[in-house]
């Protein structure tokens, strides 16, 4: 019985596996040399074309149109009006002097967020990775615990922290239980901003820790043995051995973290909704509000802002590529 089933399965498997043979033979016979590759990448290219490149082209078109109509054919062409409106400012350091003050609040908030969040995340991820790389009790448990938030949906992360931080939340309940006064964590501009940085680090740190941990484990142990025989102090070992050899991983973490930080939206949208005022309104939320959430939907303005964001991300990606090439060159040398 079992052998019959195995035989049938074998035949079915062979049939399925042989299915592409005829069309492939035909293609080999009829397509000129070097063209066969297009056959393989064609489906992927078609999917990318429809779902990635076409939206980019549409985005460019929308950025040059105005009004509130959704259909491209019903939108008047306004040229660079959306860009000039976004960039019109008396003093770029004072959003209130700009025509689109919310856009500039978002720009500055995002800039501050990126600097603070990436720097802190790098420090915390590296520290955690260094600790988890040592032979400590419960190392497996801690590795899983630090990685666990990465598995959660950003909305879940934000809701958990909202329950903790809101006026009647867990944190204030603990403070009141301890005889202290409750604190309005999300009502002050600075504290709300600080909490968005913290929650974002908490949610993503595990992923970057994992990358750095892999980098640490790739450093050959004999180098450390040699350093120990030379009685090198730990700080010098870290500065002269660990950090230089970990640099490629640090660079990856830095650039990935930077790109992710510029794109911050979901956790903050659920946690603070961009408030208080515009204190935690970041660039992607501005785009979302302008194009999809406000009652008068300015798709053109949102498209123009998203192109400016794309420009920033492109620069960051180029920096990453350049950095990667640099570190590869170093390792060869």
């Amino acid at each position: 019985m079992l052998s019959t089933a195995a035989r049938w399965f074998g035949r079915l498997y062979a049939l399925v596996m042989n299915l592409p043979e005829r069309p492939m033979r035909w293609a080999q016979g009829h397509l000129p040399d070097g063209r066969l590759g297009w056959l393989f990448v064609g489906p992927n290219l078609a999917i990318f074309g429809v779902f990635t490149f076409l939206p980019i082209v549409i985005d460019f078109y929308y950025a040059g149109t105005g009004g509130t109509n959704l259909l491209p054919t019903e939108r008047p062409w306004v040229g660079t009006e959306n860009f000039s409106s976004l960039l019109a400012c008396k003093d770029y350091f004072d959003p209130n002097s700009c025509v689109r003050d919310q856009f500039w609040y978002a720009i500055w908030n995002t800039s501050k967020f990126v600097v603070l969040q990436v720097a802190l995340m790098l420090v915390f991820s590296l520290t955690t990775a260094l600790v988890l790389n040592r032979k400590i009790i419960g190392r497996g448990f801690f590795r899983a615990a630090f990685f666990y938030p990465v598995l959660l949906s950003p909305v879940v992360v934000a809701l958990i922290w909202k329950w903790v931080l809101q006026r009647d939340g867990v944190l204030n309940a603990a403070l009141v239980g301890g005889g202290m006064q409750p604190v309005e964590w999300l009502l002050g501009a600075r504290s709300a901003f600080g909490w968005t940085v913290f929650v974002s680090i908490w949610a993503h740190m595990g992923f970057y820790t994992l990358i750095l941990l892999a980098g640490l484990q790739a450093i050959p142990a004999d180098i450390y043995e040699a350093a120990s025989m030379d009685a090198a102090p730990p700080w010098r070992v870290f500065r002269r051995i660990t950090l230089p050899l970990l640099m490629p991983s640090v660079l990856v973490v830095f650039v990935l973290g930077l790109i992710r930080a510029v794109q911050i939206f979901d956790e903050v949208y659920v946690l603070t909704g961009g408030g208080p005022g515009s204190a935690t309104t970041y660039l992607v939320e501005f785009i979302y509000n302008t194009g999809f959430s406000s009652q008068v939907r300015q798709y053109g303005l949102a498209a123009a802002a998203s192109l400016l964001l794309a420009g920033v991300l492109l620069v960051l990606t180029l920096v990453q590529l350049r950095g990667m090439r640099g570190t590869k060159g170093d390792s060869r040398g």
Partner: protein, 426 residues
């Protein structure tokens, strides 16, 4: 023999399936996108089922969805040509380009003009538009909801008819201090909620030219008071400031006894009854006054029909059915809503409510009588939502200290002008 029986059974089944398919192909499908404040969608479903029994050629499907989805998804679906036949909306301006003029499909358009005249304007694109685009599923009135138990505990009388907003604020703060309640008042985070008090304070919103300047002396007077009350702890700042973005109500704060006075409206009646019940005594206050008026803001949601429907006649028949006086009256009783039908407003509907609910309904009806024509006009303006949004965004920024009140006034004016310009671009 067995084969012959199964063959016959098969043929019979196929014939039945074909008949069923033919019958369903004949029935006109009407799809309604609906959201509920209380039980509006289930109540409409009950009436739709009864309607379908008498009108076998029409099949109605009600898709219940969250309010946010109606706001954000339905306009996009309509623009893409995949919208529902009817939707329950409160922001009529957003779907105005897609609305279907029902006049040719109604049995008696004159009845609609007479019975629903004052609110038909809300669905129209402008003063020159005379179309009938839908049916209001309720008339809502904003009003202060009072935690009477807290007032009694504090020994403070609930401000009577004619009391000003200053009287209300002072009384609420006194109650909060006496009963150690965190805050005196909370207002829903909504520009509509702010606009009633602003009109009472003298805000005009429109000038003769028709273009809305929004900010004038009356508006500024109310805005200054509102910001001050938020900053001195009279009003719960959390509602307007702690979250950015759009609407947020303060019902949970009120239901949990954290505020003495809650500015919301008649659509909360079902929740008040269900969630609070007899947990504490609550009443509806008379519309607070200002130097210019004692008004809240009328509003509500309505079923509007869309041009994209393949069954305009059937849509008209169903809405005709709902609009007929006995059915509409039953619908209002089922949903505990104030009627938008002017004839029914004069009659006493037999609401199945608790004594507190009946008293609340009477109070809301009384407050409806003090609504000013400006309040009706503002609600019906194509720019009311941009005005409301700008008010919420900018006043929130002023409360949080991000900008000054003067900067907020400038921004409200420019935000509304920007929205008007964007809407005007064709």
């Amino acid at each position: 023999m067995l084969a012959s029986v199964s063959l016959r059974a098969g043929v019979a089944t196929a014939a039945l399936l074909a008949l069923g398919a033919a019958a369903s192909a004949e029935a006109a499908d009407i799809r309604i996108a609906c959201y509920s404040d209380g039980n509006e969608c289930p109540a409409t479903k009950t009436l739709a089922e009864r309607f379908m029994k008498d009108n076998a050629d029409i099949h109605i499907t009600i898709d219940e969805m969250p309010y946010k989805q109606i706001l954000e998804s339905v306009p996009v679906q309509l623009a893409a040509g995949n919208g529902p036949d009817i939707a329950r909306v409160s922001d009529f301006a957003q779907v105005a380009p897609y609305q279907l003029d029902l006049t040719p499909y109604l049995k008696d358009a004159a009845y609609w003009q007479q019975a629903y005249g004052p609110v038909l304007d809300w669905m129209r694109a402008g003063p020159e538009d005379k179309g009938i685009y839908g049916l209001m599923t309720q008339l809502t009135v904003s009003a202060p909801i009072v935690n009477k138990t807290l007032f009694d505990q504090a020994g403070v009388p609930v401000p009577a008819k004619g009391a000003t907003w200053d009287d209300w604020a002072a009384a609420a703060l006194k109650v909060a201090k006496a009963t150690k309640t965190p805050y005196g008042m909370a207002w829903d985070r909504s520009g509509a909620r702010f606009s009633g008090p602003a009109i009472s304070e003298g805000a005009k919103f429109f000038y003769s030219a028709g273009h809305p300047p929004v900010v004038d002396a009356g508006f500024k007077a109310m805005a200054a008071k509102f910001v001050k009350w938020n900053q001195d702890g009279t009003i719960d700042k959390d509602v307007w400031v702690s979250t950015g973005g759009g609407y947020r109500d303060a019902f949970e704060e009120f239901a949990n006894g954290k505020i003495a006075v809650y500015l919301s409206g008649s659509w909360q009646l079902a929740r008040l009854q269900k969630q609070i019940g007899d947990g504490f005594e609550w009443t509806i206050g008379a519309a607070p006054c200002g130097p210019a008026a004692c008004t809240g803001l009328p509003g509500g949601a309505g079923f509007v029909a869309f041009k994209g429907t393949k069954s305009p006649k059937e849509v008209g028949r169903f809405l005709d059915y709902l609009a007929s006086e006995p059915v509409y009256a039953e619908w209002m009783v089922m949903t505990s809503n104030l009627p938008a039908n002017v004839d029914l407003q004069k009659k006493k509907l037999d609401y199945k409510l608790s004594p507190a609910g009946v008293a609340a309904m009477t109070a809301f009806q009384d407050n409806a009588t003090t609504l000013t024509p400006l309040a009706y006009k503002l609600q019906g303006s194509q720019l009311s939502r941009p005005m409301f949004n700008a008010t919420v965004d900018r006043i929130s920024q002023a409360i949080s200290g991000q900008i000054t009140l003067d900067q907020a006034y400038e921004r409200i004016t420019s935000d509304v002008a920007d929205a008007a310009a964007a809407k005007a671009k064709k």
